[in-house]
Structures are given as C-alpha cells and as structure tokens.
Amino acid sequence: MAHRSEHVLGVDQLGKLIGVLARKGYEVIGPTVRDGAIVYDHVESAEDLPAGWTDEQEPGRYRLKRREDMALFGYAVGPQSWKKYMHPAEVRLWSAERQGGTFRILNNEVKPQRPHALLGARACELAAIAVQDRVLLEDKYRDPIYDQRREGAFIIAVQCTQAAATCFCASMGTGPQVSGGFDLVLTELIGPEGHRFLVATGSDRGVEVLTELEAVPATEEDRQQAEAGVEAARQQVRSIDTTGIKELLYKNFEHPRWDNVASRCLTCANCTMVCPTCFCTSVEDVTDITGDHAERWRRWDSCFTQSFSYIHGGSVRTSAKARYRQWMTHKLASWIDQFGSSGCVGCGRCITWCPVGIDITEEVGAIRDGGKDGNP
C-alpha cells in the first residue's frame, strides 16, 4: 500500500537507485530500446533507459516515436512482459542419466541466481503478476521455479501518465493507478519544477532502499501533478464491458462471430506469447547423441497450436475457430471459474502484436451485440 508519506527524487537519483539495487545483490531489469521497441532487459545505469521515447500502438502496429521531453517512462507497454523473468520461456526442469536399464535424476533446475529488481512495472503488469501468482503458487500445487524467482523479486512500479490507443486497463479494473504489489512506486513528473519522481514505499524493503537515496518530502503541487498524470492515463479509447462476461461467453459457445474471427486469425500464437498472464507450457525430453543423458525442458506453449489438444486419434481443437474461442473464453470467462479473477488485465499487447490486428475488445463487443453474421 502506498504510504502517504510521499517523497520526491530528482531524475539524477534514478541512476543511484539502480546502483543501490545492484549493490544489494539484485539484477536490475528495466525498459530499454532495442530493435525498434521498448523491451525489458538488464539495465546497468539510467543511460540504458528509453529517455525521450514513446510508443504509438494500434491493432497490428507498434512504432517508437520521439517525445518532446526526456521522460524515461513516457511509453505504455512493450511487447514483453515480466513473465519473461518470472515464468521464463524455457527452463530445464531436470536432467537424468541412464544407469543400466534404469536411470538417476541428477538435478533439478531451480538454479541459484541473483534475484531480479523489476524497474518500471505498470499497474496492469502488477495485476498480471498477481494473476500468475494465483495460477502458479496459490492453487493446488506450487511451481518451485516461479516461486523462487517471484519471491526474490524487488518491484519498482511506475505509474502510467499516458495510455496507448490499445490500452483498456481502466475497464478491466486493473489500472492505470498502481495500488499495491510493489516495493516502491514512482510517478514521473516533468515541468517547471524540473524532471523528478514522486515516490512512495510499499514494503519494508522499499523503505530500506529509499533511505539510501536523496529524497525530499513531496509538496502538494507534486502530488497534484502526479494525480493529473494518472488521470490522463485513464482516458482510454478501448474498453471491455465486463458485466456478466462469463455468462456471455459461456452462453455464446456457438456464435457466428467465432467463424468471422477464425477467417482472419492466422493461429500464429503471437497473442499468447505477448500476453502477460498466459502461462501454458509444454515439456520436451531431449536425449544426447549417446542416449545416456536426458533432459526435460519446459517451454511456453500456446492453445493456438494444433498439437496443444492432441490426444491419440487427433486433436480436440482442429479448427481455428475452436482455438480462438478457447483462448478468448479462457481469458475472459473460464479463468474466473478457475482462479477467481479475469485472465485479462487489459494491457493491449495481443491487439498490437497480432499481425492481422485482431482486437479482443472488438471481438467481445461483437458477441455482445449479437449480430447474426458476426460482422461488427
């Protein structure tokens, strides 16, 4: 919870924050510009942050653009989410060696690593982490790999002060205001008073880190400017009407719109890869050339692949229609039954990174509106 005793950090303190975290043993991960996008990666200093960049997003389209100021967090969200670090795309679960006719498991891969400090987590992303917590930690079984990474993580949230055209967190109730689940929360302020950050703490660890920085008490103006920033981010062009959404989708298992969307969907699985809550994986055994050494790898998988639902005799979901329907119905409906919350946090990534610009908000709208041919 944001403590009310808010402080202000000069922009110069951001480099120091990164240094303090590194000294405390964290590997600091933050936004950085690479290949024309803002991605999360190792940051060594404040120099690595995307100063003066913003993103323009539309269905099927993402572009970086120069800002008029030198804001460090002046974008919405990039293609990657923190699941890259908390629930990695590829992990080795264990390896084994053949011993005569039998085998011995050699190790499992909860490998000692530096805990991550996540710099720049948005409200929707904190909501997504909470969603993955419910799946991987709080249900019947705990995933030891996620557990270890998640538990060590230090989270520095940064409030959004502008939304992308693809954002719809406000309608999903997950943003834009960060309200919990962080160690520190920053709001970037730029104006006549200079380039600075309003900062509040959310944990004892956060307090410890903040005391090592040169913070001054926040003024009323600082607070007002921060509130206006979050208010600006609340202005979003997209939304999902979530009233009765579970029943809506369950009831419309058969709906012409599914055929309509299937005629556009390439089943490329991009949407599931960029989604911060999608958690599905597959396992693969690899054996070396001698055949005496085997490893089990876990990799992200997607319900858009045909093999995902394969059982002897054939896949359950052969059509693109069935696969898109599974994905969207899971996200917005069955997730609620399974884990007590929606599986969508409204980050908009699936809209931006869909090569054909399929828009989940529009698909829900079309189903809600009924239309016989499924045209919007």
Partner: protein, 282 residues
Amino acid sequence: MIMATGITTDPMLPQPYSVRDVAKETPDTFTLRLEPEIAVNRSSFQPGQFSMLWVFGVGELPISISGDPALQDRLVYTVRSVGQATHALVNRRVGEGVGVRGPFGTGWPAEAARGRDVIVVAGGIGLAPLRPLIYQVLQNRDDYGRLLILYGARSPRELLYRKELAAWARNRETQVLVTVDYGGLGWRGHVGVVTTLFKYARLQPAPAVAMVCGPEIMMRFVTRELENQGLSRDNIYVSMERNMKCAVGFCGHCQYGPHFICKDGPVFRYEQIRNLLEKYEL
C-alpha cells in the same frame, strides 16, 4: 542437487520404479507391475487416480492406476499401445526402469458409494481405471450393495481381464455383463454397444451410484441411459481424458471448460460436466 531419493516435494520430478512383471491382456494391451527402486516408498492411491509414466529417452504420459489399492508395495498399469510412448512402455522388460510421478487427480467416490449399489460401466481400456474400485468393493463386500459391471469392447480378443471378469461374476450380489461390437465365430455372448446391456441388468436406480469410463461418445450414451434408468445426475461419475504435460495444473493442456482434468478430474460428477460433454471442439 536433488538425488532421486523419493523424498522431495517437487511434483515434476519422476521417481525411479522398475518393471517387475509384464502381462499380455490383448494383442496391443499389457499390464505392467512396477515397484519402487527405493523400497521405503509406499504407493498409496485412490481408485481412479493416474500417474505420469516416463520412459527414458522417449517421453512421459498419463496412465491410470489399474491395480489393487490394498497392495501398497507396487503400482500396476494397463497400457494400450497406440503410439510412441505407449509402445515404449509396453515393451519395457522386467528389471528396466520407469519414472513415476503422482498419483494425481480425483478418484471414484468409493466412500460416498458405501451402503449403496455400485454400477460400473466401462468401454475398452476404460475398464483399467475402474478395476481398483472393483477390487475395493469386492474386498469390502458388506459395505456395499449390489455390484453391477457392464463392459463393452470392440471384439472378444480386445476384452481386458477376461479371467477376472469371470471370477468377479462368482461373487455374491455381483452381476457382470459383457458385450462386443463384433462377435465373430465362437463368441456366444452379447453383441452390441454397451448400452444394450441395460435391459439385462438387474438395476435398482434409487440406491445406486454409477461410475463410467470409456470413449467420450460411449460416455454420452451411457450417461443418458443411466438417467433414463432413473439415476440422478448427482449419482453418476465419469472419467475424462485430455492431453496432459504436467498433471499439476501448470501446463494448461488439459483444460476442459472451467476445469483442469488433471486436478479437478479426471473423475467428475456427471452434473459438473454434462453441458460440456455436448460441446464439439471445446
């Protein structure tokens, strides 16, 4: 470094078992008896639960436990060879290793069925996950009412556990009815799908609990027939099957509407999934 001692909480780590016996049931189906390589491991499970069985260098797959739950020094599986992993499994030789994870999932309602008639309806390999339940009922015969076993297979040579079926029928208050789709010469029993057996069954719907396992199409017809016979949906249980990679609810593959078959199933109360059974490509 975690050695395979069996004392670990990571549900993703297979435990080493070795094959003690392989018995041929039908031309493509074999029953394997596995015992833990570390003798202290006890193998307790509930009838209806399954394991993930791993063959070194081949892969891992879900297989129901088909043995007697009272015998905790072993795990018994009946496997039909249909593809790469099942083929490797049935071709394991005595003394060779198999990795075992589990047991996972929900079991048949053996407790809830106490004091009541038990109707077991199985198709093909579907008799395997029901066999532990049959053992349990027969070992505690006084705790249950009548036991009715209706079993269908494609042909006489594909019937599982033929000797046991005959032996079960000799128990008191137990009726075993068997049918095949294609009889051929020399078959003198029933011919037809398993639902045709109901007219020969001495069935009293009121005090009965039914447990059904077989191909999905068969379960659709059987559940409908059981309802026609007067059983309430709450007293019918079915076991479902979907692709599974982890068996602990992380991989997402076995989703079935709001359910994960690995942890919410495989055994479901019919009422829970009745609406889903009708949905094509769910």
